[in-house]
């Protein structure tokens, strides 16, 4: 038996450095992917050229913005399978608003709001009706997609180009922006969400909710309202992603983004999010989104078939989580 009294001191202090170390894994993965494809393509200067990087970043925007919302949800111990449908619905609504003569800015707000409403419905069903998140959002996957098709009359809603369609172009106007305005929006939002998660009561309570719902309830936190808020806010991000999708396609396509939720969940998980809740960072999720974007882009450059990409990305998700498990076991 231990007679050493300071046994209780056996708590290892977590230096701030560790926070960065947990990001190091995904970051190393990103570097590895970039270096590998730079070599494989045989022309690193082309793969890493400013224009290719711009293309890749623009392609990342939709998954990245969605991943911010998904990070909130996954930290809180939930899941959302309706992301792709929400994106399509928000895109259709935005396109319809523009065609109805509404100012593009307000059309964008409408698209974002639709995402938020879908999220609030999800949150309400999960908390008030006690349907587990997997099922509630699986249902919403069908419902939102159906609404999108209904509103769009089952065909893409074409729009006249407006400034809204400049959001995710490869070459921004004015050129001094360097990156498309959508990319800048994503970067700013990522910083905002990261700060909210780290430094606000609301943000920390999302972690409590996912880490131990019993503890949250015992300490007088209104867990149901909090969960609805999380889904609602995440929905706003999915709505914005829908606007970006519409902006890129120059149409509101009700069948677009099917399966995007899997990319989004993968980005969060590769970035260190835990599906059992309580863990995850926006930074990690962004790196996760970039890993997948650079992978896709690299495969395209090499002329590899789509199915190869799918096999690689599927494997990476499993490897990332397995590595994370091993690491946490050795701590």
């Amino acid at each position: 038996m231990d007679t050493e009294i300071p046994e209780i001191i056996a708590n290892r202090v977590e230096p701030p450095l560790r926070r960065w170390l947990t990001l190091l894994g995904p970051f190393a993965g990103l570097i590895l992917v970039i270096v590998t494809f730079a070599i494989l393509t045989g022309s690193p200067e082309k793969y890493l050229s400013p224009s290719n990087i711009r293309i890749t970043l623009s392609q990342t925007v939709i998954v990245a913005i969605s991943a911010m919302g998904m990070t909130l949800i996954i930290i809180s111990g939930g899941i959302d399978l309706a992301v792709g449908s929400t994106i399509a619905l928000a895109g259709v609504v935005t396109a319809l608003c523009i065609n109805a003569g509404i100012d593009p800015f307000f059309a964008m707000i409408a698209g974002i709001a639709v995402g938020g409403i879908v999220g609030l419905v999800n949150g309400t069903v999960i908390t008030r009706l006690r349907v587990v998140p997997f099922i509630a959002t699986l249902g919403m996957l069908g419902v939102a997609r159906g609404f999108a098709k209904w509103l769009a009359n089952q065909e893409p809603v074409n729009v006249q180009p407006t400034w809204l369609n400049e959001l995710v172009v490869t070459f921004p106007n004015p050129p001094w922006l360097l990156l498309a305005s959508g990319v800048w929006i994503a970067i700013v939002l990522a910083i905002v969400v990261a700060v909210i998660l780290r430094s606000t009561v609301f943000g920390r309570r999302i972690f409590v909710l996912g880490s131990s719902e019993a503890a949250a309830r015992a300490c007088g936190i209104a867990t149901e309202k909090l969960r609805i808020a999380v889904y609602g806010i995440a929905g706003l991000f999915f709505g914005l992603a829908g606007v970006m999708q519409m902006s890129r396609l120059r149409q509101g396509d009700p069948t677009v983004a099917a399966g995007t939720e899997l990319d989004v969940i993968a980005a969060v998980v590769i970035g260190g999010g835990s599906l059992s809740g309580g863990q995850g960072t926006v930074m990690g999720s962004m790196i996760g989104a970039l890993i997948m974007a650079f992978l896709r882009n690299g495969c395209q450059q090499l002329g590899w078939a789509n199915y190869i990409q799918e096999i690689i990305i599927g494997s990476i998700i499993v490897v990332a989580v397995a590595v994370d498990q091993l690491r946490s076991r050795n701590l």
Binding site: E7, N11, S199, T200, V201, V208, A216, A218, G278
Partner: protein, 500 residues
Amino acid sequence: MPILELSGISKRFGHTVALERVDLSLQAGEVLALIGENGAGKSTLMNVISGAVRFDSGSITLEGERYKPVSQLEARRNGIALIHQELSLAPHLTVAENILLGSEPARFGWINRPELNRRALEILATFHHPEIRPETFVGKLSNAAKQIVEICRAIASNARIILMDEPTSSLQRGDVEQLFRVIRVLKAGGIGIIYISHFLEEVREIADSFTVVRDGRSVAVGRIGEVSDSELVAKMSGRPVEDLFPKRGKMNGRDKPVMQVKHLAAQPALGDASFELWPGEILGIAGLIGAGRSEMLRALLGIDRASDGTVIVDGQSFSASEVSPGLLLRLGVGYLSEDRKGEGLALPLSIADNITLTRFSSCSRLGWLDLNQQLEQAECAIETIGVRSENAMQQVGDLSGGNQQKVAVARLVHQQAKILLLDEPTRGIDIGSRERIYKTIADLADSGRAVLLISSYLPELFGMCNHLAVMTRGRLSEARPISKWTPELVLQEAIGSARN
């Protein structure tokens, strides 16, 4: 004036009387030890005070005012904090965040992190634990440190009464000293503490007064300094042995053991356990909850990883780390888990499926189940043990607890196990079912099976067993014939040698 006073508190769960006219009185700055055997009603009493369970009759006054909490939240608002054996902390958050959970220093929603850490450190320092750093993640702390954090959280929420349920059950000796220091600081601050523990030595060291509960009644109250250990033990154990137990057949001479377990260990719960099981005999294992009895079975079966030990079944020797549940099943070992709903039975499946689960071979051919045969065998087993059900196709989840447990025992009979390992086979079930299960176990033993019986209910052990061993903090005593034991001796063994 006492800060908390209970008078005539009663609580029933269905037909079971959990509490019967319990009285209790706690002063500010006092540590009151609540002692009693497992199942005496201590935890129900704690749940009543902390608002998790509503009482049926009686009254509680809190600082002179009537108090009838309807939720844990309300109890917490009234300054009552319960510290569970299993702690409720958020592992992914820091110590400071956990301590001030629900009352974070913030401005317009922005957490003031330096202030958060400063206040947490202040509270930790009050308890002489400034070495627990506020920015550490709680998941990385030792159990002892987690407990301190939980106590700090109670203080941060202005608790005036703290209920501690077996706070030392997961602590090492050095940590117990630390906890006691914290409790003394609480006392000095005028906080009332109700302290549940089995360990009389601990109680003597920290408590001022005591209340003994037995069978849901408060049977003795007093100052801890004015009573001897043996008096307390007598108060705790003094219950009549019920006439529930079947007459056991005469024992024949011993031939050779069917199972030998040598130096089985599974850190940290199980230190060292050795025993032998003989055909026709029941070996009882007594001990306090958390002493490591279930852990011993789980390690023996290979459900949890054993760190050391040898298992010999029918002359075949295995190292404990290579044993798996499947291997033992093939060797004729049957296991009854204490967790009936989680591990023992598949509640959504039918009685027939549950009974034949471990020996499908009896009613199948080349992997095809013969459903009629399965049903027939299940019905036969139901008949023998007297499961009350409509038919064998009924879902197990629909049965009462006692009948569910009969199904679990019927499975062992159907399995034709030669060695039965039973973990709390009668916990929480009605008298009638208990009687049937006792009879079945006795019949099995008398027909030459070897039985190991873990129980927290002493009369059961004395009524059923041929031999008895006591588990104390992960160490199993030598098995002695039941005639060499008395209830007092067992309790003393379980409690007395608890702290070396």
